[in-house]
Symmetry: C2
Subunit: 117 residues, 2 copies
């Protein structure tokens, strides 16, 4: 589970990363956003830390967690490694089919996804 992608896949941890993306937070602060106990959040944070995605800094009696940008890069790299050119092509085909089925006022061509890396 040291694998960044597997670590980030769990829904609660996904949300934790998103929360931390907007700025560092203490454990209690984070835990308030979840229905589970602080202990559970603490353990989730440790998993993320093991994966190198977050890190903590002591500040008084709190521990302020923050995202590790370089860890995110590795995560992104792993996602990109999975998302091969073939897969991308298949998605592109799906878009094309979708566009043809709806003649004139077709969809907005959302080509924003997946930029170069």
């Amino acid at each position: 589970m040291t694998d960044p992608l597997s670590a980030a896949a769990e829904p609660n941890r996904r949300r934790l990363l998103q929360l931390l993306a907007s700025g560092p937070r203490s454990v209690t602060e984070l835990a308030e956003q979840f229905p589970v106990t602080r202990s559970a959040i603490s353990q989730h944070l440790l998993v993320l830390a093991e994966a190198g995605l977050v890190e903590a800094e002591k500040s008084g009696r709190q521990r302020i967690y923050r995202v590790v940008p370089d860890g995110l890069r590795r995560l992104q790299a792993e996602i990109d490694r999975f998302w091969t050119a073939e897969l991308d092509l298949l998605v592109a085909d799906a878009e094309e089919l979708r566009a043809r089925r709806t003649p004139p006022e077709n969809t907005q061509n959302t080509q924003d996804t997946q930029e170069s890396s």
Copy 2:
């Protein structure tokens, strides 16, 4: 586990999707690429099918699996939904730091004290 991202996160299933991205294959053909039994692969394929990522077509006594482009789109959308602009920005910062080799102390992200809501 009907969630596409969770379904695609498992290493074996990740590989299955990549293999199928290069073209449709039968179950035995796929199973040969793995150290586990055909039964395991069959079950993995069913999980992927439940998530709408693959589908099968009977051809004689084999079942030819192939990816579902539209399912891949949903997977990609879910990944994009997770990978917010903030996360992307943090990665960009990491790149910048890597390029400059000059660690600016104030590159911390917005510490706007957003209190509880």
